[in-house]
């Protein structure tokens, strides 16, 4: 199968280093302390954050002087168009864990002892890159909730198909069986917070794919910052009025 044609165009018309269209909005769930919708092309994720609030189940607390971060990931029944059961399948459990660890690493948990932060994520539409979209949505929702963070945790994926590194794989590209590298970074601190790959790649190839995904992360961070600034302006405006 040809995923990049000799003209350098992918099946959906993008070039190798182009991301899908990003749409993001915060404050979409009024009941939550913070919330956001994040879309990358046809992948759409909603995030809601509750907290920091008093810890409910003390046994979950490992370090007394740190806040506990909990994460629940789910996929809406209608998200793929394919009827699937198993709400708590292994993939969801694994994803919840990965997102929780990534977010925990960027939240200043030491500032909020004896408290817990709940992050709920639901995939409304899945078209590849849900893992990254979840992290980006969670970051937006956490920021919306005013939870102190070291940096904005952002994520983007890149793959390797037809001997070409490709940024931000959609579902068709993702199912092609090539390598898919999901990278999460803390852009200001210039640190990698997440790195996952589900196939083997030669070292040099991996490096170019990784570099491409990191570039994508930086672009997303820029976009997220814009969304948050816009939101702040809106708030200021409303307060003034």
């Amino acid at each position: 199968m040809e995923y990049v044609n000799p003209e350098g165009l992918r099946l959906d018309g993008r070039r190798f280093n182009e991301m899908r269209q990003i749409v993001a909005e915060v404050g979409v769930v009024s009941k939550a302390d913070g919330s956001a919708v994040f879309e990358m092309g046809n992948t759409k994720v909603i995030a809601a954050v509750y907290g920091p609030r008093e810890i409910q189940n003390k046994s979950q607390q490992k370090k007394n002087d740190h806040a506990v971060v909990l994460c629940e990931y789910s996929m809406a029944q209608f998200s793929t168009g394919d009827r699937r059961r198993q709400k708590f399948d292994r993939r969801s459990t694994e994803l919840s864990l990965v997102i929780r660890q990534t977010m925990e690493a960027c939240i200043l948990t030491e500032l909020m002892p004896h408290s817990q932060i709940d992050i709920f994520l639901q995939v409304l539409q899945a078209d590849g890159g849900t893992r990254s979209a979840c992290i980006n949505a969670a970051t937006l929702a956490l920021a919306d909730a005013g939870i102190p963070m070291r940096d904005l945790a952002v994520s983007c994926s890149a793959g390797y198909l037809n001997s070409t590194p490709l940024l931000d794989l959609n579902y068709v590209e993702d199912s092609a069986g090539g390598a898919d590298v999901t990278v999460g970074i803390l852009p200001k601190l210039d640190k990698v917070s997440l790195l996952q790959m589900d196939a083997k790649l030669p070292m040099e190839t991996f490096e170019t794919v990784f570099a491409l995904a990191s570039e994508g992360c930086k672009a997303i961070a820029e976009r997220i910052r814009e969304v948050l600034q816009e939101n702040t302006k809106q708030l200021e405006y409303r307060r003034a009025a």
Binding site: E7, D12, G13, N42, N170, K200
Partner: protein
């Protein structure tokens, strides 16, 4: 700009699912014209002011024309490319090649993502109409975009599309009109003939279907075929035409589990070799009659060419009618189901090479002549073509493509594609050999070459420190090959161990270190399957830097290898076997003759010579043991040429000498292959690639037995061991007799074949010729893809790499094995054809008298084998077609042809003196003729 494309897709479960796909529309798709001021011209291709846009059908049917240099400045739209890709992969590859060729002006315009030419499907619009509309929109865009600077023409043969285009203000033409406007009449030869559906009223005038006789039965419509297949009335399969009798074909049908025979052109009903057809069985009482009838009906051209002596049964003509002749009893011959073709499900038409049937030039030149094309491949029927350059083409080898075959014509119609060169010319005929055997000899594409490691390559420190790679550079490793061999696959070492045993190593080029699964390089090698060796040319499976340098285990350089290392007792028993990736440094690349000379020279006592002698001693024991087990030491007649370095003509030909050194290397290669076969099958019982040699059936050995019986020799063919023993006993008065019997035995055997272990049961894995229960190919990965595959299996069995995904896909594995068998067979056929060509060239200037042996009696003479040159051919006692003419009669039982008055007779295996000379019965059709002295 973003567009959502919504469509419905049928899922695997059969449900309909709505699919939403995004399309990103772009503003950075450029028109590709140098004259354009508004576009980025870095990728521009189109320099002329006359630009043509072609539609899908023009690309699909007129690709031969498009490939001609006279056609240029063509815009190929992405929607057209997509559709071509779906409909015909090979045409797609050809148009892609044109688009990437910098010498041609073919520009791909990605209209499907351009912001101004993207066309959303309208409700109830068919896919076809949608594409046509997209093509018109794009053409119109070009017209407006380029304005007065250029003339844009849409070329389409679709009437409706052309009408709409004209309505919308687009200039549109048919391909015929366009070609005519170019003023080069010979280009018209390249136009595909319109198929029946395309015939318009004007064209219908001269073909007058009503006046013409229907020769073939109608092909059933597809719906009826599907229904018939479903109900079991029809059987689907691939039609294979007998290479030696084009009026006989077979269809292997899964539904009845046996081959269906199709006799005669009318039952084949316009199907070509390789077509997927639907067959209907004939009534049982016609199974036998049909055969007699078809042979009587068609003039069966006997194979009267001199050719290389066959190496196995597949090289020799089938002689199915002989058993019937001898017994004279209809019921004795096994009755096989016969059938007739009712429809063609998928055509296997491609282009063919050959020449035009000699004909006189029509009066007055310049007009269109109807000529008949005769393919070199006898399985292909003659093809009718129209040409305006008959005079130029009569002496040429040409390529012709088939367009259609309607019920009224005895022969299919096609069109001329290109010339290859003058008939009889060495380069031309060599190219013919390659094309005919489907050998891809085009240069490697840039994508393939991009997979090569940078040059100059050398072993890196990472290779040395790699824990899976053992450093064997300290060993005295050397290679033994034919003189001048550049692609050295294998090297050997042999050290004496303190305990009196030997350590023996077979080191094979580590090709899979450079050829990774799924890369363009791997795909190409897999497609080619094997390197092809012609008399003066080698067509490589892998690009030259790998073949001759990086992989080749040359002397005095460090190379990566995959090694099989045994500990062997002095009586050649294997005590232990291990496999490892390694680094070696060969200290000598010897030729067989050099190695032999070293072993024979008793003054030499250096360690290399000692190692050689030790190895040879071990190899002889191993060989004897193999023969004791029943391995056949068959004889084949391999010919070699001395070539004039100046004009590249053959100076001398002779039989290839097999030395002890050859057998020594062969023995260790066999042993390595056997060891590897065991290892991979142990770890991967269902997906190993192995090689088997089927036990010949009694029926196949029949010609050998008949010949033996005629001279009072009894052969025991109950097992390979029994046959080997009786071959050993077959000693005649002259020293050549035994060899001759072995040669005759060899040609009764089929070839060994590759297969996937999961497709057969273990008893079927047997290799008859080698008397080995398991065998595979591991030792030549530079020139055989099977070995590349086996290297991957072996590496995976050792835990070095994961098994590539293809190994989990059984049908794909089977198709890989099938392709390897096909390529392997073709490579051999090409090699033989090339030798035959040089034999012909050699004898052109050297009429020779030579001794020959009668190997088969025919009604009008006999076939002789010329041992000195390894060729065989017919000797006629009576004029051709006279069939004995009453002067001679054949004594079947004694395999003898006797003159009526009893004064003269010739019997099988008899020595005769013959004269060999090249004659030209028809102009430009030279052939080697054998006559009795």
């Amino acid at each position: 700009m973003l567009q959502s494309k919504v469509f419905n897709k049928k899922t695997r479960g059969g449900r309909i699912q709505k699919q939403v796909r995004e399309v990103y529309l772009r503003d950075d798709i450029y028109c590709g014209a140098f004259s354009c001021k508004s576009c980025d011209s870095s990728a521009a291709r189109l320099s002329s002011s006359k630009i043509i846009v072609v539609d899908t059908n023009v690309v699909l049917h007129q690709i031969d024309l498009l490939e001609n240099k006279a056609i240029d400045t063509v815009v190929v739209l992405s929607v057209v490319l997509d559709e071509v890709k779906n409909r015909n992969r090979s045409v797609y590859n050809r148009i892609r090649l044109l688009c990437s060729n910098p010498a041609r002006q073919f520009y791909v315009f990605s209209n499907h993502v351009h912001k101004d030419t993207y066309v959303q499907a309208m409700e109830k619009e068919s896919a076809n109409d949608h594409n046509d509309r997209a093509i018109r929109v794009a053409t119109l865009w070009y017209q407006k975009h380029l304005g007065d600077t250029s003339q844009v023409l849409l070329v389409t043969n679709d009437r409706e599309n052309k009408r709409k285009a004209t309505e919308e203000g687009i200039s549109a033409e048919t391909i015929e009109a366009y070609v005519k406007s170019l003023g080069q009449p010979e280009l018209l030869d390249l136009l595909a003939q319109p198929t029946n559906e395309d015939i318009t009223m004007e064209d219908a005038d001269d073909s007058r279907p009503s006046k013409r006789k229907l020769i073939y039965q109608e092909h059933k419509p597809m719906s009826e075929i599907t229904a018939g297949l479903h109900r079991g009335i029809y059987h689907q399969g691939k039609l294979r035409v007998n290479r030696f009798n084009p009026y006989e074909a077979y269809v292997g049908s899964e539904s009845i589990g046996e081959e269906i025979i199709i006799y005669g052109r009318s039952n084949m009903n316009r199907a070509f070799d390789g077509d997927i057809v639907a067959v209907e069985l004939l009534p049982r009482d016609q199974w036998q009659d049909e055969k007699a009838l078809s042979i009587a009906e068609e003039d069966d051209e006997e194979d009267d060419t001199v050719h290389l002596a066959p190496d196995n049964v597949d090289d020799a003509p089938r002689t199915s009618n002989l058993s019937h002749e001898t017994s004279g009893d209809k019921n004795a011959a096994p009755v096989r189901p016969s059938g007739r073709v009712v429809g063609v499900i998928r055509r296997n038409w491609h282009s063919y090479c050959g020449s035009l049937e000699p004909m006189s030039l029509p009066a007055g030149s310049g007009g269109t002549a109807h000529a008949l094309f005769v393919s070199k491949d006898r399985r292909i029927p003659k093809i009718r073509i129209n040409t305006r350059q008959l005079q130029n083409l009569l002496d040429m080898r040409i390529v012709v493509a088939v367009d259609s075959w309607d019920r009224q014509s005895r022969y299919p119609s096609g069109h001329y594609v290109r010339p290859i060169g003058k008939i009889g010319d060495k380069e031309t005929e060599t190219e013919v050999v390659l094309i005919e055997n489907d050998v891809d000899y085009s240069p490697f594409s840039s994508q393939v070459l991009a997979c090569l490691p940078p040059l100059p390559w050398s072993v890196s420190s990472e290779d040395v420190s790699n824990p899976v790679r053992q450093d064997l550079r300290h060993l005295l490793v050397f290679s033994v090959d034919p003189p001048g061999c550049k692609d050295i696959d294998d090297a050997l070492h042999c050290t004496s161990l303190p305990n009196g045993n030997f350590e023996l190593g077979v080191h094979i080029a580590d090709v899979t270190n450079f050829v990774h699964p799924g890369t363009p390089l791997d795909d190409e090698a897999s497609k080619r399957g094997t390197s092809v060796y012609l008399v003066e040319r080698r067509i490589d499976m892998l690009p030259k830097p790998l073949t001759e340098d990086i992989c080749s285990l040359r002397a005095d350089v460090e190379r990566l290898a995959f090694s099989v290392i045994w500990e062997m007792s002095p009586d050649a028993e294997i005590i232990s076997t291990r496999f490892t990736k390694s680094i070696i440094k060969s200290s000598a690349a010897l030729s067989y003759i050099e190695a032999q000379a070293r072993m024979d020279d008793s003054r030499l006592t250096d360690s290399l010579t000692t190692d050689l002698r030790n190895m040879n001693t071990l190899a002889k024991i191993m060989r004897q043991r193999r023969i004791d087990r029943g391995a056949l030491t068959l004889a084949s007649a391999e010919v070699k040429f001395d070539i004039d370095p100046e004009n590249h003509d053959p100076l001398n030909i002779g039989m290839y000498q097999i030395l002890e050194a050859n057998q020594m290397v062969e023995e260790f290669m066999l042993a390595a292959n056997v060891s590897v076969a065991g290892q991979i099958l142990k770890l991967f019982p269902s997906c190993s690639l192995l090689r088997r040699h089927p036990t010949p059936t009694r029926e196949m050995l029949e010609p050998l037995l008949r010949t033996a019986a005629a001279i009072g020799l009894t052969l025991d063919v109950s097992s390979s061991k029994a046959l080997a023993d009786s071959l050993d006993r077959a000693v005649g008065e002259d020293p050549y007799f035994n060899k001759l019997i072995r040669i005759l035995a060899t040609r009764c055997m089929t070839q060994a074949v590759y297969f996937c272990s999961g497709d057969l049961s273990p008893p079927e894995y047997h290799h008859y010729g080698l008397a080995a229960p398991l065998y595979t190919h591991f030792t030549s990965p530079i020139r055989r893809y099977a070995d590349v595959f086996v290297h991957r299996l072996l590496a995976a069995s050792l835990g070095i790499y994961k098994l590539p995904t293809v190994f989990q896909d059984r049908p794909q594995l089977t198709s890989v094995a099938d392709n390897l068998n096909y390529r392997h067979r073709n490579a051999q056929m090409a090699g033989r054809a090339s030798v035959e060509l040089y034999v012909l060239i050699y004898f052109r200037t050297r009429p020779t008298d030579e001794e020959a042996r009668v190997v088969k009696i025919r009604s009008n003479g006999f076939i002789v084998f010329v041992p000195k040159y390894g060729i065989e051919g017919p000797v006629y006692l009576t004029g051709k077609g006279e069939k004995g003419a009453g002067d001679w009669y054949v004594d079947e039982e004694k395999q003898k042809i006797v003159k009526m008055d009893g004064s003269l007779s010739y019997s099988v295996l008899q020595t005769v003196k013959i004269h060999m000379e090249v004659v030209e019965p028809q102009p430009n059709r030279p052939k080697l003729q054998l006559t009795l002295l």
